[in-house]
Symmetry: C2
Subunit: 311 residues, 2 copies
């Protein structure tokens, strides 16, 4: 019977967490979402959040529920720090690096490690490694560049379940801090989602792709454009967004071959990245991010039947 | 007698204003500084600020004092908007574009225009045009690239008193918003002016110069460096500063020839830019910014003996 939970998969990010009850046959029995992301929690809050979320969950075997967690809960400022695996590495070894922040008669929780990189530039990821393993599980034999748009976008070179190299672009966060705190904010007073946004986006993306090295200069043209050319808030917001994504894609252009680039992230953002990749003469395809992270957590768990206690 | 004021030169910026009493022979009779910058004033505050500042000033001829102003007082959100001259243009025509926000029996004030650019990318400057005219006056025959580091750095191509083209890099402001509002702020908790700052600056400058197109990615290495390599706050602050200035100089590298680049701005900032220009195989020389702006205001005024009323 598939409505009995065998274990629970959790994606515990900065802003929220999502939990899925998984039956013995791998089907999803329930999905729960909570706003209790890492950014809102103190270390001592985590057990209560997880216990509350899973209060009504019954297991098939009557024993404690095994909970496998990926994401920022394993960060230094999270629940319990899960040390990084160092790239290049095979992501099938994720579970071997897990830590166990909680084991009582109700819940046995494990947090998967992130991945770090020291050769070729310090870098870290936490949560994306599980998505990459999920992509590898859903597309066996895939080898190439994967783009994961977001606050801190990741670009990873994947060969099967092996992560060869990755980088992080602060694109989403730079957009937010400039939109909110810089002189450019004066250009966004009004309706930023109007019909001019698409034109602004296309103009910004072209500028970023053509001259990624000029970002500090082209940014100011948002402001100059509203002062001199009467650019409206929707155009300016589109231009800033397009300029930053265009710059990010332009900077990674040498990594992208003829192969389609899988895009893992929010549907809205992935659609914008796909548009810019097309402008760059490449192509990208948005993936189902929920299916990907679930596949990653399942794949991580499948390399052993028992979560070994580890503290 | 040189202690009698003939006219008053004012540099009215965003954060403060400076005023100099000029005698008939061009010598400086007094200097006054006030924190009443454009950013702190409503339109109706300006006459009172200026009247208060010049209350005890006597003129040689007993009539109203002529006050010539450059800078942000002429912005749309300032005292009275002084329309832009459009580049390329001869800066000797600045006074012809001045506006007059105030004329009573004590003070006749004029504000110099800024310079805008539409061909080759929308751009604006306000205040820097007067410094460029000052540089041209102090170095007759100079032709080349001038760099003006700051919140919004300007790079201008000057031929004598003619400005051919210019650009703006948001370097200083991007440093501030990232330092204050982004995830990078966690890397700056502590003494950011310690002995590691110089090493961090050199490493960041090299990264920026080598790969100005990678800025969105190298920015994140500030954070990854403190997580993975134990980089201290002073090193991280130096790295971010060097990375941004290196990126700015790297993006403008194609404009810089064998000729020394005059640097106009705060002494601390100009010294950093000079260091990065040297790393780039070029050279830059900090100028006396006060002498430059004074020379610019004098030169702007010298093209007529009388400030024509204009509203």
């Amino acid at each position: 019977m598939t409505d009995i939970v065998d274990w629970v998969a959790v994606d515990w990010g900065t802003s929220n967490l999502r939990a899925w009850g998984i039956a013995a046959d791998g089907s999803v029995v329930f999905e729960k979402v909570s706003p209790s992301g890492m950014g809102k929690l103190a270390r001592e809050d985590y057990p209560g959040v997880l216990t509350g979320l899973l209060e009504d969950v019954q297991t098939a075997h009557g024993g404690p529920i095994q909970v496998l967690i990926c994401g920022m809960a394993g960060a230094r400022q999270g629940w319990l720090e899960a040390p990084y695996l160092e790239a290049p590495t095979d992501l099938r070894s994720l579970l071997a690096g897990a830590v166990q922040p909680m084991a009582d008669n109700r819940i046995i929780a494990s947090i998967l490690p992130g991945v770090c990189q020291k050769a070729g530039g310090d870098n870290v990821m936490r949560g994306e490694e599980t998505q990459l393993l999920g992509l590898a599980a859903l597309h066996p034999g895939f080898s190439g560049i994967v783009c994961m748009p977001g606050t801190h976008s990741k670009w990873a070179k994947l060969s099967g379940s092996r992560i060869e190299h990755f980088s992080t672009a602060m694109t989403g966060e730079v957009f937010e801090v400039l939109r909110t705190h810089s002189v450019l904010r004066h250009s966004f007073n009004g309706d930023i989602d109007g019909p001019g946004r698409a034109d602004g986006f296309a103009a910004g993306a072209a500028a970023g792709l053509d001259h990624p090295e000029q970002l500090l200069g082209t940014l100011f043209q948002v402001r100059a454009g509203s002062l001199l050319s009467g650019r409206q808030p929707d155009w300016c917001a589109g231009y800033l967004s397009g300029l930053l994504i265009g710059t990010e894609v332009g900077a990674n252009r040498h990594l992208i071959g003829a192969q389609d680039v899988p895009l893992i992230g929010s549907p809205t953002l992935c659609a914008l990245y796909a548009q810019v990749l097309t402008l760059a003469g490449a192509s990208g395809t948005p993936q189902d991010a929920t299916a990907i992270v679930l596949a990653g957590l399942k794949a991580a768990r499948n390399f052993t039947n028992e979560l070994e206690p580890r503290r």
